[in-house]
């Protein structure tokens, strides 16, 4: 419990060290050293799944005469990467005071396209227009990287077809849905010469020919001929290759990832130090209490996953009577008749 945040900032101490070898606007390659495998992997996992970004979460469809079904389009919209710069200023919808969503916890984008020409019209991400107040001018704007400046294709329209909808983009993490993932692929490896013998190099004739060396092989000393195996060695240098999916620059993914780990640990410390914190502060899911839950919960003493009471058949009464003398849709205690 003697957590000292200062240790991390002190480069001269034994804290983790990051050495960036290559960085551009889509990927960053770096080496993390002086730390343990579990921490290195935690960072990788967090960068994959727990960095908050923004993605379209709700779609209100006003008009859709395209060939694609509403939920089909909604699914596609969700996967369009949106700029997440300044995401920390946006609240999670569940933490916001508003009823459903508001400008503090969401960004609204409009899409309206109608094909009037004879050619097939492509509706792309750039046609998504952010509206209303935003925490900053870029948060929630679609990311467009292609040379034509179109962005990802959403759907195609033919003459006379129209699409009009409003998208609500919300903050979230990839654990909930992968549309919130900030990173695409994260390369991760250590010990390029297999000095630790964490794997067994299976080969047919000659491992050197058949197994191309790792690109990090030059970074570490190759094992000496006849070098004795060091049983106590632990992995120390980890090589990352982080590629962004768009919403956050690759270097920001790394810093954000570290931040998320920090926050998670801080939360843990907070929970552990504030001894009375457990009961009331808990906001996570829990099993339903007595007398809670849906209306159907208590009435029949039985419960099927789909909400209708146990004595009701979902299929109508086809010749069968229920023990209570009523088929669900043919009179009796039909709640709707």
């Amino acid at each position: 419990m003697d957590y000292d945040p200062m240790v991390m900032d002190d480069a001269e101490s034994l804290g983790p060290v990051v050495k960036i070898s290559q960085a551009d606007n889509t990927r960053v390659k770096f080496e993390l050293s002086n730390t343990e495998l579990s921490f290195a992997n935690s960072l990788r996992r967090v960068m994959l799944a727990e960095i908050p970004t923004i993605a379209i979460d709700l779609v209100e469809i006003e008009a859709n005469s395209s060939v694609l079904a509403d939920e089909f389009i909604a699914h596609r919209l969700g996967l369009i990467p949106l700029n997440a710069e300044g995401i920390e200023q946006l609240l999670y919808s569940r933490d916001c005071d508003c009823d459903e969503y508001c400008e503090h916890c969401s960004v609204t984008l409009n899409l309206h396209a109608k094909c009037t020409g004879d050619d097939i019209m492509q509706v792309c991400a750039r046609d998504l227009v952010p509206v209303g107040d935003r925490v900053n001018q870029v948060l929630g704007s679609p990311i467009i990287n292609d040379p034509e400046g179109q962005g990802p294709l959403i759907l195609k329209l033919r003459h006379g077809q129209e699409i009009k909808l409003q998208c609500i983009a919300k903050k979230g993490i990839a654990k909930e849905h992968s549309k919130w993932a900030p990173s695409a692929a994260i390369g991760f490896e250590y010990d390029p010469h297999n000095k630790l013998h964490h794997l067994d190099l299976w080969y047919e004739q000659d491992p050197k020919k058949e197994w191309p060396p790792s690109e990090y092989a030059d970074w570490e000393e190759p094992p000496q001929e006849g070098e004795p195996f060091d049983y106590d060695a632990v992995p120390q240098r980890f090589y990352y290759n982080v590629e962004t999916a768009g919403p956050i620059p690759p270097d920001a993914i790394v810093t954000e990832g570290i931040k998320v780990i920090q926050q998670k640990l801080a939360g843990l410390i907070h929970e552990l130090t504030e001894s009375d914190g457990g009961e009331n502060g808990y906001n996570g899911p829990r099993s339903p209490g007595y007398n809670e839950g849906g209306d159907n919960w208590n009435d029949q003493g039985s419960f099927t996953p789909y909400g209708n009471g146990g004595n009701q058949s979902s299929w109508g009464g086809q010749g069968g009577t229920t023990p209570y003398g009523a088929t669900p849709y043919g009179g009796g205690q039909n709640p709707w008749s």
């Binding site: 939920e71 089909f72 654990k175 549309k179 991760f188």
Partner: protein, 1155 residues
């Protein structure tokens, strides 16, 4: 070539191995381009369409010509003649029977409006009126269903743009019918060939039997020549007992005993010795002359039966009876003209000879399972059988009408047959419709009654529909445990798919056509007869030869469709010359010729239903297919038919194949080679063609995939969203398989795929992957892997009733706050569901109402209630859906037709079924978060983790190949790698090199790290893209539980089945377990309390049931006690009592009170 874009252009124009027009062409490499050329001409389901076209264009005319004239028994001067018959183009019928309608109708309209896609049939007639001949043209007769894409269909030859206008998918194969809105396929029927001699041996008695099924337009009968205890007899249905063969031959007349023995045995002493005994039989029966023989036969002809009923016809004597039977019933397909029995005598002698030969040498027995002895009946033939029957019935109805008219002594008008034709014609329409609708084929004159001929076209996936069109069903009983008909026949090579057959009871009986199979239609015999004589000077008519000459060594009898026709002494030269005539187009390419050395016979076949297949001709060790031919094909200057007439390719049927030596590849050609395969992979059918590297798989795995490919969800057709099918599954993001085969391109599976390329790693993970379960990546599902849409149709028809009342669509019911009640929440003002709204279980989609009064006449005081009863269509599935489409139309009966289509979008969940293309199915065992997935050093995370235990016992090496090939082609961007054709070599070495060049291991394994710990996997992991199909079996449609629920009325036991919210049965074996365990209370609870336990009053005095504590038999309440028993038991007791079986219950206290 016409600008007919049927999707084959891409295959033909830039040769699709990435070849340009300027690239060199090697016949060895590129000869498979004949396959797309063939399919372009013949199409995938051309067999059906050809057969149907032959019927509507030719056979229907022959049938009418054969039954042309109707005469009256009453007025000998009157006749009615049908001079011509024509089938028009499909039209709409606005009210029921109106045949005249000239409104063209599209197949799509028929599907949507529940109409029948049928065309009017018109006849030209001529009849007499007062010695004048009156000719009337274009009299509507009936309507016959039209096969899609046939000559009578608007889709025939339509371009893609036209198909789009028709709302039709350009890739749809056609070949089916639309009857009442449902698509019906007439399955290909497999039968033993007709009019051919089949010799069989009876293993038990050692007898030999030659049989022939004669089939003519009038009748079908089977004649046997049986060798039993050294004596040969002839058996036939109409003969009450077997007749010694010599008597039969004598009855034909004009044959001396010497002639007979020569015809049968020739000069061979062995056969003569065997046959001689039969003369004694005739002598014993006292038959020496033709007259005696005819009387002998006539006395044994069965009376009655289905022989023509001439009530007034004079009773004939035995000799006439015998003459008639021999002329018209025995071997009916050999016609007797002017009492010339010689051809028939030769035929029967030939049968006897075959029997004698088989008795001498058991190897000469025929194989019934040999594909050359089979004939396939297609839609056209089956319809023509039916049509002929119905037309004959129609003729007799018209004749009855005519007779009735002329029976009247004083007629007021002259006779006009128009009315009779109009009145009786619709029986033909109805008969055809009903047969195709129900699949029951009833042909009275053949006593044929077959069920299950037609099936609803399965539109589960494109492959399912295609597979159905190539399916062949056999007439064998499914229950019989015989292996012969089910076994794979060597003669099946190239004709029938070796892999595509169902598992289980129909295994081997239901087959599928291979890719290049063609089924012949009938070719007229007469021109062929002329050609036989013209072909070679050594050929002479059979009549000019004596028996000895015929059967002498070196002379060969030429059989035309199984009937001896001519004799030659130069069979090889004759066959070669005849083939040359065929290759030059003087004879139809579908006439086959082969030499049978065992029987010294040359067989020429022109009949329909033979299975054949094209081959490249090889002459003098040189393939006739030259590079310039392929060049011409490439330039579009030639079609497949050009090569057919120019002697490059020819069709061989199964029998002719036996005369050939076929090389698989050009380098295997020797001097004796006669033909070369166009492409070896065409021995597989369309469905088995989807499998990459099938030649590396264990064969049952390919068969399993053939069954599963039909269940895969994917794109159905380009018009899939315009269709309203009862159940339609579509994949949200279908992908072209990474590894394809040429077959896939040929059948356009790459355009309508059913599956997705999943990145698969082969390793065990989490323990939730045992027994073939799969591990799925949650993020992949988020991104749309395996996502599918399910559409369901709900229909309602607003019927009219005889009293003029009609069903109606009622309004919405409101609650106190003037809001629609929950049940009607999604209804619009018109009483139909709103498009786009979410419908939950129990809600109404079509608020149909039926009048309570459907019978009152409305005359005088007879008026019923004006009220309506709710007959709405409700949504009954527990998971909600979205209303996708609402269609309102009018059907054939002029009733309003309402169709509502609902849509569900489903993402894969635990328990959903997936399969690769190698018969490796599995259910989802666990869905794992992406960060927990193992990943490669490049950061690649799999979509699916597959357990390696699936490989050793299944031996699906093809799957490993698919994975590696897919990986190499993805990494290298090389399209060429991405082919997994059967029986071809693959660039494995260069693929391995490509992998190494891009930093991967050559054998497809990579360094993987555990996502959970961050430690590397100890071993390298095999990974790559594999095409995975999502199968239609989904948990959502199957999950079921019940605590309480409906019960059956009769037994009061819980209902059965998920659809009735039924209980889960505790069966006999479960009961046994509980008894053995001694869990008596649990048993009591399960079998009685939770089921049908009832409280009953039983009288201890009389043992009968009481009522409310009172025994009606004893008139007392004294001894009545209550007890609990199963209701089913009570029911049994009462039923027994009702049948006068007394049942009395004697009660005893199990735990008596101590008194």
């Amino acid at each position: 070539m016409a600008a007919l874009d049927d999707g084959f252009e891409a295959l033909l124009e830039p040769f699709y191995n990435g070849k340009k027009l300027t690239d060199p062409i090697s016949t060895t490499q590129d000869k498979f381009h004949l396959v797309p050329a063939f399919l372009k001409v013949k199409g995938l389901v051309k067999q059906h369409i050809d057969s149907y076209n032959y019927f509507v264009n030719e056979e229907i005319k022959d049938i009418v010509r054969a039954n042309r004239v109707v005469r009256s028994d009453q007025d000998p001067n009157f006749w009615l003649e049908f001079r011509d018959i024509r089938v028009g183009m499909p039209t709409r019928t606005e009210d029921g029977e109106q045949v005249q309608s000239r409104n063209p109708v599209t197949p799509m309209e028929c599907r949507l409006r529940d109409l029948t896609y049928a065309a009017p049939v018109e006849v030209d007639i001529a009849y007499t009126r007062d010695k004048n001949v009156i000719v009337r043209k274009n009299i509507p007769l009936c309507r016959i269903p039209v096969m899609l894409k046939s000559a009578k269909c608007y889709l025939n030859g339509a371009t893609n743009a036209q198909m789009e206008v028709f709302n039709e998918c350009p890739l749809d194969p056609g070949g089916y019918f639309v009857i009442g809105g449902t698509e019906k396929v007439i399955l290909i029927q497999e039968q033993l060939s007709k009019n051919r001699i089949i010799v069989e041996a009876d293993e038990k008695t050692g007898g030999v039997m030659a049989s022939v099924t004669s089939s003519t337009h009038e009748r079908k009968s089977k004649t046997y020549v049986v060798l039993k205890k050294d004596r040969i007899v002839l058996q036939h249905n109409t003969l009450s007992e077997p007749i010694p063969i010599v008597i039969v031959l004598k009855a034909f007349g004009g044959l001396s005993d010497n002639d007979i023995i020569e015809l049968v045995c020739g000069g061979d002493a062995r056969y003569q010795d065997d046959f001689l005994i039969n003369f004694d039989e005739a002598g014993r029966a006292g038959v020496y002359t033709q007259q005696q023989a005819l009387e002998y036969v006539g006395a044994r002809v069965k009376m009655g039966g289905n022989r023509p009923k001439f009530g007034a016809a004079p009773r004939r004597n035995h000799a006439e009876e015998g003459l008639d039977a021999l002329a018209n019933l025995v071997i009916a397909h050999v016609t007797v003209e002017g009492l010339d029995f010689y051809p028939k005598a030769v035929y029967i002698a030939m049968m006897v000879r075959r029997v004698l030969m088989a008795a001498q040498n058991p190897k000469l027995v025929d194989d019934r399972d040999f594909v050359g002895n089979k004939r396939l009946e297609l839609a056209g033939q089956l319809i023509s059988l039916l049509f002929e029957d119905l037309f004959k019935k129609f003729i007799s109805d018209v004749k009855y009408n005519i007779d009735n008219f002329f029976k009247k002594p004083n007629r007021t008008s002259t006779y006009d047959p128009h009315g009779a034709i109009m009145a009786n014609g619709h029986y033909i329409s109805h008969g055809l419709n009903r047969a195709i609708q129900s699949g029951n084929w009833t042909v009275k004159r053949f006593n044929m009654n077959r069920a299950g001929i037609t099936h609803v076209l399965s539109r589960l996936s494109y492959i399912a529909a295609l597979g159905m069109m190539t399916r062949i069903s056999s007439q064998f009983e499914k229950t019989r445990k015989v292996s012969g008909p089910r076994a794979l026949q060597p003669s099946q090579w190239g004709m029938l798919c070796t892999s595509d057959t169902p598992e289980g009871e129909a295994c081997g009986l239901v087959k599928n056509l291979a890719l290049m199979t063609h089924i012949t239609t009938n070719v007229p015999e007469e021109p062929v007869k002329k050609m036989i004589f013209a072909a070679d000077e050594s050929v002479g008519p059979i009549r000019e030869y004596t028996g000895t000459e015929m059967h002498s060594k070196g002379s060969y009898i030429i059989h035309l469709n199984g009937t001896p026709f001519a004799v030659t002494r130069e069979p090889k030269r004759f066959a070669a010359r005849f083939r040359t005539l065929r290759r030059r187009g003087w004879v139809s390419p579908f006439v086959s010729i082969h030499i049978n050395e065992h029987f010294s016979a040359v067989h020429i076949a022109t009949d329909e239903g033979r299975i054949c297949r094209p081959y490249i001709i090889v002459k003098n060790g040189k393939s006739m297919l030259k590079a310039e031919h392929l060049k011409m094909l490439q330039l579009g200057q030639a079609t497949f038919d050009t090569f057919l007439t120019s002697g490059v390719v020819e069709y061989l049927d199964v029998n002719e194949e036996n005369d050939t030596l076929v090389a698989l590849q050009e380098d295997q050609i020797t001097n004796s080679t006669t033909h070369m395969e166009i492409e070896p992979f065409t021995i597989l059918g369309a469905v088995a063609g989807l499998i990459p590297f099938p030649h590396h798989n264990q064969s049952p795995r390919n068969t399993y995939q053939c069954a599963m490919g039909k269940q895969a969800i994917g794109a159905i057709a380009y018009n899939q969203f315009n269709r309203i099918d009862t159940l339609l599954y579509t994949l949200v993001y279908p992908q072209r398989p990474m590894v394809i085969t040429k077959t896939i391109q040929l059948i356009h599976y790459d355009k309508l795929p059913a599956g997705q390329n999943a990145t698969v790693v082969v390793m065990s993970y989490s323990g939730y992957d045992i027994e073939d379960a799969l591990v799925l990546n949650k993020a992949s599902l988020d991104r749309g892997f395996g996502r599918c849409q399910v559409f369901r149709k709900y229909t309602a028809e607003l019927q009219g009733y005889t009293n003029g009342r009609r069903d109606r669509v009622g309004g919405i019911m409101k609650d106190e706050d003037d809001k629609p009640i929950v049940k009607h929440a999604i209804l619009d003002a018109d009483g139909l569901a709103q498009v786009g709204s979410k419908v939950e279980s129990g809600q109404t989609m079509i608020k149909k109402e039926t009048p309570l009064d459907q019978i009152s006449t409305g005359i005088a005081g007879d008026r019923g209630s004006d009220d309506y009863r709710d007959a709405s269509t409700n949504y009954r599935i527990s998971d909600p859906a979205i209303i996708d489409k609402v269609m309102i139309s009018v059907n054939e009966r002029e009733n309003k037709l309402i169709k509502v289509q609902t849509r569900q979008t489903r993402r894969p969940e635990l328990g959903d079924k997936f399969s690769s293309r190698h018969g490796q199915k599995g259910v989802v065992g666990i869905i794992v978060n992406e960060e927990d997935m193992p990943f490669s050093d490049k950061g690649l995370r799999p979509d699916i983790i597959m357990n390696p235990h699936g490989f050793p016992s299944r031996m699906t090496v093809g799957k490993l190949f698919e994975c590696l090939t897919g990986k190499a082609s993805v990494i290298a961007g090389e399209k060429d790698y991405g082919f997994g054709d059967a029986f071809r070599s693959h660039p494995v070495e260069s693929m391995g090199q490509a992998l190494i060049d891009h930093g991967f291991s050559w054998e497809g394994k990579d360094y993987f790290t555990s996502g959970i710990t961050g430690e590397p996997m100890e071993a390298y992991i095999y990974n790559g893209p594999i095409f995975y199909q999502r199968l239609k079996h989904m948990v959502q449609d199957k999950m079921h539980s019940r605590s309480r629920g409906p019960r059956a009325i009769l037994t009061r036991q819980p209902t059965e089945g998920r659809s009735r919210d039924g209980g889960l049965r505790l069966g006999e074996m479960e009961r046994d377990c509980l008894i053995a365990y001694g869990a008596s209370q649990l048993l009591l609870e399960r079998l009685m309390i939770s089921s049908d336990g009832t409280e009953l009053d039983v009288c201890q005095e009389c043992g009968l049931f009481g009522y409310k504590g009172y025994c009606n038999a004893c008139k007392s309440t004294r001894n009545v006690t209550q007890m609990t028993m199963p209701y089913a038991c009570k029911l049994l007791v009462q039923e027994l009592i009702s049948m006068n079986v007394g049942v009395k219950l004697k009660l005893e206290d199990e735990f008596p009170h101590p008194r």
